[in-house]
Subunit: 348 residues, 2 copies
């Protein structure tokens, strides 16, 4: 005998991403702000002036990618249990990508899932990480290897927070903006060539375009069965670079810049991109002092590390390449020789 369990249904997971000065947020339940000492020191007062909660807790976790671990998640969970958080309670992620990923993952597994709100404070998290519901932590095997898809209830992007962002972190955010433009929007890329995002009017336009692009891609393919993988342009290389350098040498966006450069070299090799187009991408990255090269010590080890990428399978590696400017190719058919040829260019 067979019983079918039929969960086909309309799910309503839609939510708003507001790009504007933070409005007053009212929550008639327990709320925990998850943040780190740096963000808290700079901006917690501002957030508190905009927040009305029935009961409010502030949970501070150490700053940095090295603390994005399951054991830190357990610490946060314990705090929530201590304060008797329930299924109607809300978490607020207040910080950059690390805070957002960890808060989202905590929300996804606390009592099988509670609501959370993203209030990203870095450019990278404002234009990319806070949108789309990817959450997770790192472990010894790599980055974001443990996690869940858990959409936020709302995302508030307030450019004000960027006023205190160091130039290097600003550049790292621009790398993800460039990623979105190169793969999905040639006109937007030209805008990036012609304008400086350090001007706040231009920045606002770039934030809007990036978030629109990301929201559209995620709405097409929430769980990355297809199109959403395109947002990993540059990231297959990036993850290996980050892992080899223990996440300490480069900010994530910086490693993405290196990864896009590597991917573009393959694109040029395969005839999918002209050298001129690859140079144009490099020029935009250099405008923000982003690194564009990397010294590979062991090309075989670098290649083998691709296999732990979440997009890879036992026998093939899925890469994302730009096709010209504004196009994208997701493929696991590029010969190993082609990849190795490019990797070797980085080993001398």
């Amino acid at each position: 005998m067979t019983v079918n369990i039929d969960l086909k249904k309309e799910i309503d997971n839609s939510y708003d991403i507001t790009i504007d000065a933070l409005p007053t947020i009212k929550i008639d339940n327990k709320v925990a702000i998850i943040t780190n000492p740096k963000v808290s020191g700079l901006h917690l007062g501002y957030l508190l002036s905009r927040l009305e909660a029935k009961e409010l807790y502030i949970i501070t976790i150490p700053d940095g990618e090295n603390y994005k671990t399951l054991s830190q998640i357990e610490n946060i969970l314990d705090r929530l249990f201590d304060h008797k958080f329930n299924r109607k309670s809300t978490l607020i992620a207040f910080g950059g990508g690390v805070i957002g990923d960890m808060t989202g993952f905590t929300a996804s597994i606390y009592q099988r899932g509670i609501e959370f709100i993203q209030i990203p404070t870095t450019l990278l998290s404002q234009v990319d990480a806070s949108v789309g519901g990817k959450t997770g932590v790192n472990n010894d095997y790599g980055k974001n290897l443990i996690g869940a898809f858990h959409q936020p209830q709302a995302v508030y992007i307030d450019p004000y927070f960027l006023s205190t962002l160091p130039a290097r972190e600003f550049g790292a955010g621009v790398a993800e903006v460039v990623k979105m433009a190169v793969t999905f929007n040639a006109e937007f890329f030209e805008f990036l060539e012609d304008n400086d995002l350090r001007d706040s009017k231009n920045l606002l336009i770039a934030q809007q375009r990036s978030v629109e692009t990301k929201a559209w891609v995620v709405s097409q393919d929430e769980k990355e069965k297809g199109l959403r993988a395109a947002l990993n342009y540059g990231h297959t290389f990036c993850h290996v670079v980050e892992n080899e350098t223990n996440y300490t040498t480069y900010l994530h966006g910086e490693a993405v810049a290196i990864g896009m450069m590597m991917a573009n070299k393959v694109s040029v090799e395969l005839g999918w991109m002209s050298q001129d187009e690859a140079d144009r991408v490099e020029n935009v990255l250099k405008k923000y002092d982003l690194p564009t090269t990397y010294q590979i010590q062991d090309v075989n080890a670098f290649y083998e590390a691709f296999f732990l990428d979440k997009k890879s399978s036992d026998s093939s590696i899925t890469f994302i390449f730009a096709k010209g400017i504004g196009g994208v190719e997701i493929t696991d058919k590029v010969p190993k020789e082609t990849i190795m040829k490019i990797l070797n260019e980085y080993s001398v």
Copy 2:
């Protein structure tokens, strides 16, 4: 500016639950069977004779509710990373409810979610726990407080595995069958009164009815926003009993039997159930030597412990009560005095 991210869509999460001798299962990818030494010793050979996988690993974890922890989940995750499992790999839960909950939770967070199959080997997991996608682990604060909703790809219920099940565990499974009948199906309850499930023909009927009931409830309300909570009839009391006795004195189903008795006393007190109906439920439970009473040491502590139940909020506790036989009431409106009166009856 506001960007809306619209994830409204048809999701297709339907899957089949087969109640029959295990068919041959073919999986063209890496597979890990998660099991414990007891089940493995008795039945692994049988499972392996029915399984064709591209690459097969067996991960054995210690038996028992005490090992249903996040740290055991980390051990399983590490093994999967060691074997380079990818997003297309599959886990098989081979054991009782603990194995099912842990395997499902591991699958839900490995690389943000991979497939898993349930092959339950106890009556309790065959009629209840394996169906519906609730996964999770315990912690110091209580049971199943960390977890996710993650539906299996398929459930195979083979009554053959019950041939080795101790009578006490069989009874514990019957408690969940009784739960389903009392809350949703008066005719099924009469069947339970008139027949002995130790007869395999009767057992098969009971398994089918239970799974049909569970599948229907879950398809109405996957994430327990409403109706699904009815399946927690008896469980609000049960969780406190289990917690007070450190999960060692009673099997889960036994604590459910105690919990249903407590809930029925409240129902009788409120006029929702006649004493005769409550007695009929008690008689069915006793037929399988299930415990029907419990000694409460501290009624105030018992009451306070309700507030950590996942269905409770800061100020109210949600209880599930039977309304006669075949009916159910989900409510947070029962006065504390009524609950305390019944709890006091258990403290003398």
